[in-house]
Symmetry: C2
Amino acid sequence: MKKIKLISLTNIIIFIFTLNTFSAQTQNTYTMQRDTVFAKGEKIDTGNFTGIAYLNVLIASDKENPTAVGNVTFEPKARTKWHLHPAGQILLVTDGVGYYQEKGQPKKILRKGDVIKCPANVEHWHGASADTYFVQVAITNNDKGNAVWLHAVSDEEYYK
Amino acid sequence: MKKIKLISLTNIIIFIFTLNTFSAQTQNTYTMQRDTVFAKGEKIDTGNFTGIAYLNVLIASDKENPTAVGNVTFEPKARTKWHLHPAGQILLVTDGVGYYQEKGQPKKILRKGDVIKCPANVEHWHGASADTYFVQVAITNNDKGNAVWLHAVSDEEYYK
């Protein structure tokens, strides 16, 4: 009788552990899918990026409202070239870990919830950290012209 | 012996149900916290909203870049008054379920990942659905002036 009770108790404990493990796995998967607010979009092939990145154009600029909004997803190590915007740019970090650097300034580490206001005509780059993907919403006012693209961010600059 | 086995089996089944219920509750709480990219900010007391809503100013407009970005969280049934923007507005839905309506048009239901480009000087309102909170990022170009606030959205208009 005692032996049977012990076996039943062992069974229950095994069940609890199994369920908890299963639950933890489900949560992780679910959370990663849910965290990405916008679809990844299309692979960027403009030559203005190093590594693999994706753009989902959320809002195109037009004559009435010159503000363009795009969701950019960078795979680890992917980054923009150095560039500048004639009317500045705003970045909203929605997921992952990334970098942002203005010329002559140290590299900043960006995480979900961080925001950046990049001044007009200031050379800068942004992208994913070395080990983690990075997702940002870029808000760009194009009424003074489009971005001016410069040279690639070297590995030396990237890892500094 | 058979009776004891049956009791143990019943115990196990009860445990499974209990754990599943607990797990579902934990997941919901966790997901809601993770889904909110930006902090809720401060309760809005401008008189331009019906119900309870919160604003987190992410980026203020300035002379160089007239684009303002704010994260707005609406509790269920909360909504803006009817209003318009002299240079239009862009809304990015980051969580929850909400409504958007332009004057003379049917109400649109908005969910995470939806985007809205509201034209300049078009009367509109936005807010949460009746049962669910709603989180949006509002991108407003203030170079032609601030929002013009009109009358409240009546319950009749809201539920239509």
